[in-house]
Symmetry: C4
Subunit: 507 residues, 4 copies
Amino acid sequence: MVQSEGRIFSGKDVAIHNSRESCWIIVHGKVYDVTEFLDDHPGGSKIILKYAGKDATREYEPIHPPDAITTNLPPEKHLGSVDLATVEKVIVQITDEEKARQQRVDARPSLDAILNLHDFEAVAKLVMPDKAWAYYSSAADDEITLRENHAAYHRIWFRPRIMRDVTKVDFSTTIFGQKTSMPIYITATALGKLGHPDGELNLTRAAAKHGVVQMIPTLASCAFDEIVDAAQPGQPQWMQLYVNMDRNATRRVVQHAEKRGIKALFITVDAPQLGRREKDMRQKYDAEDPAEQARTGGDVDRTQGAARAISSFIDPGLCWKDLAWFKSITNMPLILKGVQCWEDALEAYDQKLAGVVLSNHGGRQLDFARSGIEILVEVVTKLKEKRGITFPNDKFLLFVDGGVRRATDVLKAVALGATAVGIGRPFLYSFSAYGTEGVEKALQILKDEFEMNMRLLGAPTLKDVVPSMVDASNVHSHIVSVPGDNLYNNNYESLPLARLKELKSKL
Amino acid sequence: MVQSEGRIFSGKDVAIHNSRESCWIIVHGKVYDVTEFLDDHPGGSKIILKYAGKDATREYEPIHPPDAITTNLPPEKHLGSVDLATVEKVIVQITDEEKARQQRVDARPSLDAILNLHDFEAVAKLVMPDKAWAYYSSAADDEITLRENHAAYHRIWFRPRIMRDVTKVDFSTTIFGQKTSMPIYITATALGKLGHPDGELNLTRAAAKHGVVQMIPTLASCAFDEIVDAAQPGQPQWMQLYVNMDRNATRRVVQHAEKRGIKALFITVDAPQLGRREKDMRQKYDAEDPAEQARTGGDVDRTQGAARAISSFIDPGLCWKDLAWFKSITNMPLILKGVQCWEDALEAYDQKLAGVVLSNHGGRQLDFARSGIEILVEVVTKLKEKRGITFPNDKFLLFVDGGVRRATDVLKAVALGATAVGIGRPFLYSFSAYGTEGVEKALQILKDEFEMNMRLLGAPTLKDVVPSMVDASNVHSHIVSVPGDNLYNNNYESLPLARLKELKSKL
Amino acid sequence: MVQSEGRIFSGKDVAIHNSRESCWIIVHGKVYDVTEFLDDHPGGSKIILKYAGKDATREYEPIHPPDAITTNLPPEKHLGSVDLATVEKVIVQITDEEKARQQRVDARPSLDAILNLHDFEAVAKLVMPDKAWAYYSSAADDEITLRENHAAYHRIWFRPRIMRDVTKVDFSTTIFGQKTSMPIYITATALGKLGHPDGELNLTRAAAKHGVVQMIPTLASCAFDEIVDAAQPGQPQWMQLYVNMDRNATRRVVQHAEKRGIKALFITVDAPQLGRREKDMRQKYDAEDPAEQARTGGDVDRTQGAARAISSFIDPGLCWKDLAWFKSITNMPLILKGVQCWEDALEAYDQKLAGVVLSNHGGRQLDFARSGIEILVEVVTKLKEKRGITFPNDKFLLFVDGGVRRATDVLKAVALGATAVGIGRPFLYSFSAYGTEGVEKALQILKDEFEMNMRLLGAPTLKDVVPSMVDASNVHSHIVSVPGDNLYNNNYESLPLARLKELKSKL
Amino acid sequence: MVQSEGRIFSGKDVAIHNSRESCWIIVHGKVYDVTEFLDDHPGGSKIILKYAGKDATREYEPIHPPDAITTNLPPEKHLGSVDLATVEKVIVQITDEEKARQQRVDARPSLDAILNLHDFEAVAKLVMPDKAWAYYSSAADDEITLRENHAAYHRIWFRPRIMRDVTKVDFSTTIFGQKTSMPIYITATALGKLGHPDGELNLTRAAAKHGVVQMIPTLASCAFDEIVDAAQPGQPQWMQLYVNMDRNATRRVVQHAEKRGIKALFITVDAPQLGRREKDMRQKYDAEDPAEQARTGGDVDRTQGAARAISSFIDPGLCWKDLAWFKSITNMPLILKGVQCWEDALEAYDQKLAGVVLSNHGGRQLDFARSGIEILVEVVTKLKEKRGITFPNDKFLLFVDGGVRRATDVLKAVALGATAVGIGRPFLYSFSAYGTEGVEKALQILKDEFEMNMRLLGAPTLKDVVPSMVDASNVHSHIVSVPGDNLYNNNYESLPLARLKELKSKL
């Protein structure tokens, strides 16, 4: 099966396979036959054909997990090695669009001018490559849930207390027995190298510096061990797991993680199939060569975006009864990531898991799924009613993620019973715009906000952030206004304000 | 009465009747005196006068039901036949506007680039003739209900379940004993040839290919038999019925339909008079020749749009007591289309009908009528309370239509008790933009969405899509915000995001 | 006291009083000394000074009630008559702005193109003089109530009934024993000649033609008798009354009205002081001569707009105990216009009045007063609870006004218990744009809408328009959304629709 | 410690210290070494370096409290005096931007054209220096609470009464035994000289003229005694207090205030740390010299805006138990300013304080803090429930501030139980645009509005403004609409109004 890998080709041998009919490429000195893979490539066939018969390493490297090609291509397409000395160098043409982007990179505001997490996104949007932006920012269907995740926090208001000694405020907490500087963690997000050449390592380094936990994603751009190796001694890391249809593969991954010191296993349960994200799909389509488009016609399945292509191994048959097996292969705390109603949270509790993440996968899976913060209110109410427990609770931890941009958002979740809150995209945007320093700055901003806002809440410690400090009575309101009466509104003449004299004479 | 039809005219005989005072036209080789009909023509008199004394077949054909002229014109105006060899050919002048439209048709994106049902509408709006767009897209009064139909779905949110085996998902269902591939059907919409020369046949063909039901409209552009003939063996079709004041005419139509194998009869009950649709009315007016406008002055009744003109036969006296008669003339299941409150749904149930369609006629009739999905919640609640029945229910089927654009919309209706959901305009836009292939693509998109979203809901079959999977507690909220405080808002200076350095120096 | 009126001046005698220090003007052949009145003139001093020493009749006539000058000026300023032959003719300069307005008047769309009441406003806004538009359209403070009056109807939705014989629909009704063709009336509005030279007579004529009631305003531009004289035999008219501090003046007016056949007396109770309407105030200010502005400095009281100036006679001391006196001077039914809560409606009922108008004066008085339709729901509920009566009720009539633009609005009010609904501004705009024909067209549009919508409601007569036909459960919701998160929203990139190929290549 | 102040320098002695390495400046004839203070200066280092070695008095004077430099700089940096005759005059370069601003100042509309409080803000925004505008208008985080403060009033609607004698209306009231002309007071706001050279004295003078109370801020630009001295005999003034970590300093300030006749002490309890206000922070950053920015890099702590720098003395340890001490040092009524929930209001009542201000510090501290008017509803309800007291109540006064722009806002608060309402920014904008006259005009506008609106409410005195006059049932609604469906909305074609003929032919 792998004997062909032993062959050694010359550059010329490879160069003649430079067409759609026969397309070989070189990556890291290995030769691959990707002819049959062309139409399945998430990034489109055009970009591969550009390197047909050539060395694609420089293009491949930053945006693929190290083992992407070996995993996606059947072994018989791994043809062997090439003598790199005989390979012609590829000269990359830089497009005008890319030049303009580089100029925007040079014009980034200094980190001093970044005042909040929104700012990172504003800069990243301008300086990231289009496809990276599309992949990170896109979400399911009409992206209603994406935005609801943020909006839901705005339906929760504070009831701050006064006349309490807040000279010292302490917003550190303990999760699974380990100290963390803030009640947040860096949640798992895929393909970090799309945004920055160091990918997820940016997060590892910043997490170390600021004392927060990083959750390592199954679909990282960097290799798992690379990320673990980059951690400081004692730096806590968790693992996010997509369960493979091949349970042996999953067992190997889980047991390796435990051996490497991972502190908790977050099993993703909201993604039996990865989402149709139309911005991502449209971006890919727009990027395609018109000639290639015409050729392939209706044959290419546009409904399969990047997410789907890299995730076909995920088992849609994962069930409650699989939990026994997980308990048999690891001693790490088990947490279900993507619980979306109290009934499933109760089941997880009854099954003696360590906790749940109330999450809708950043709005990327089911549109009109409710926000984690809304589900939190329901879960806390019902688990108290059904099992008499209160939150936060060391025996069964509630996490929330999605839509968080401010420490006030986090404090609302904490008041309502969450142990910690996951933040994803803001850190992606931070390193996409500024690398590791960006993530550090983002974490520092959060610390400043925590200090300020805990003082203003009258809460010296997180234990003092209690349910009566928030009014969440509107969290379940999903209102759409009656459609506007355009005829009436167009007739209505808006009142003017007082105007300067000059302006008046000009008008 | 019909003896005049025996006469044969020469082209010259007809050509002299070329004025408002005496206006004859030729259609399909027959001669008609339309002088007195000029001001009643829904499309305005101008377009007829353009063909006064000439052959109007090419203009007439695509936008009229085959028997429109014979039905609307009294028999004595059917003058006879013409010797076509003696008729001068009409040269159609193509306007600049029409040329621009043709260019837009040529520039349609390929079907690959169509990712959702919205996209069809976006393309159709650009490539359809103005009057076709106006007729399809228009609705009653301020079009509040039109938009509410869509908006109401956005007040319903999901409560998805996890850890269920969704390796296989099956979204087929059975309606009136017949299998259908999805819980949707193509609902009845009028005048299909306005959008595409093949009219309703596009729907018949695509329905066959994808295994869904087509409801044939009374006001189809294609003849009823033509549509039935186009069906594949065993392909289920239903019939939508406007009840004629002449009950014998209705009897003939119904019994003919049953004989041709129609599986269910949907009697429209929300349209005793067809709607004032101002976009449609304004379009017609704008299209009129200014000279003609000046001449006719206030004489033309602008309140009678196309809808009214083609529907004057509908009986506004239709009553509950007529149902006995319907039961006496047919064995097809009888369904009332356009039920809008639980009281009438209960009456239909008590009268042992087969079901009801909760619908407001696509927002085209009574503005501020509530959406079908909102009525569904009320009907299910009250029929359970009054008669102890639950839904979906094989004895009494609930259908919903209006405003549907996503499989998630349909799944919400199914969760709340609907057997299937009718979709209309999206398919009109699909074939107006791309013919039959457009409708096929639209159906394929829905299938992709069903597969994805049922997985994400944790529902392997439609039976698993249950009421507790949705939160519809806001569905009855009809909120209009307090009018804006423009003075305050205009004074408020919106916060800026971080900006690039160049941009800053330029500003 | 009036002997000076006997004097006869020459044109030259008058012409020398042409300055701010001594300012005489001629109106209808009479000479008036307006020197001390200059700063009190609602339209500003500049327009009077333009005619200082001259004949102002042409300018005065269209915008003042006939007796305005004699009422506002003390008798000693009525100097006498002038020999008109000796007076120099005034040549009126037409400004560029006025020329542009005249061109817009010529470009009005034909009445055929007017499809709804909104259209009249759209045309009137373009063709009316600025100050007329400002006076008619303006309202109190931030004009929140003005717009809420319309918006409130949008929180009420229909529950139409089906399968009822609506072959014939009859929307006529009886009010105070008199037949009217629709459940609407033309409510009282001031200064009709601002919009059209025939002023309120336009309304009288159209009301006659269409069989509806006109309410004659105290502040009409036309004289009361002129309006009554213009009525057809048997045409019902009502009177709106501002109660004068001089009760004898009020007694004379009321008893004269009764003698002239007025059928009901509507006493305005929501305007002890007429409103600050800032659009109106700003308009006046902008129109002032800068030189005059500089001269007068802070001396002119800008807080007194036109409304206040013409209404200083209104008695802010009017009380419940005054009702006995009203009953003693007239046998006309007495109705209070401007009731705004159930407590006052109950008091009116207990005092055996004929009814109340639930109104906030078209949003022109107290901002954040609730809409009439909202108050109706409260009044009907509470009067049933407190006195066991139901509505509509012949013994105690409920009227509503404010914000009505569609027959559906009226039908909502009727369903909720109103006998009829007052419509004001739409008729002002109708005659401002098209004179009497405009009002007739507006009434015809309403009839068309009533016919259509009663059919669609399943209501052959107004008695069939019952409470269960509407859902008014949201009518008391006064929601203001949480202020927008501009940073988040500005970062969010809206999803695109499919685009034409050309457009793509251009972008 | 202070001996160095005795030294006398020549201009040349000072002039050589003109660099970042050694930076001396002259203010009011004194010499200060500010080298180490450069990076702590709230206005940035650049503006100081511009005056390095020179006389900075003209620049310093308008924007600093008189003792700012002596307080902020340690005594050893107070170097001594300078012989002013030997100092070179500084020539201030006026930027183009400043010239444009001066032109806008000259073009201010006359005070006659100012119709409401919004107008002052519109003018001030255009004529104030950028940093003054940024400091006054900025608020916490996303400025949600800032805007909510205003929006909350819009969720409260009136239930006015009719037929009451409102010939005379009296809106005066009594607070702490002293008469005031309206139920409003001028609340404490910092740094008045940023907007106008006379700073807080503008407020003192206007308050005297119109008979309202001024609350003197701890962080006034003018000296406390200056403000007290400017008051008329018997003019009531209150004091706002930030409690110093050095309690002796606070004792001195409080006892001095009591001696000077201050009538009440308002202790600020919502600001243990002054807020991060990003508009203010961004303004400062933008204003910085790019070269200076580059040099300082990440060293300057941008999270410390002006507010924080001038407020580092505030004690975040202030507690309920400190109240005993306050009672021991003064007999002035004690009021807590910044109470935000009923629990703390109840505690203040139980501790026998004189009242509380329900306030969130103008939205400048904790974002998503609720508005004062919303808290008022909760406090009145709960204190009645817990202690059986009703409001307004002479023993325990409730004040509200934040977001007020209209007398109707104030009347809503009064109806709900407030004794008086604090107004801040509108008066800052009034004097920033027009000096003392601006504030006088603002107060006169409020009086006009009170007179009008109390008449329209049917309330001759403030005692007649009762709870049943308002509907506050929506005040706790914090709704965020479901995010918009952009695809659907972009497809929807808004209905057109009737258009003029010309316009049509052009389009």
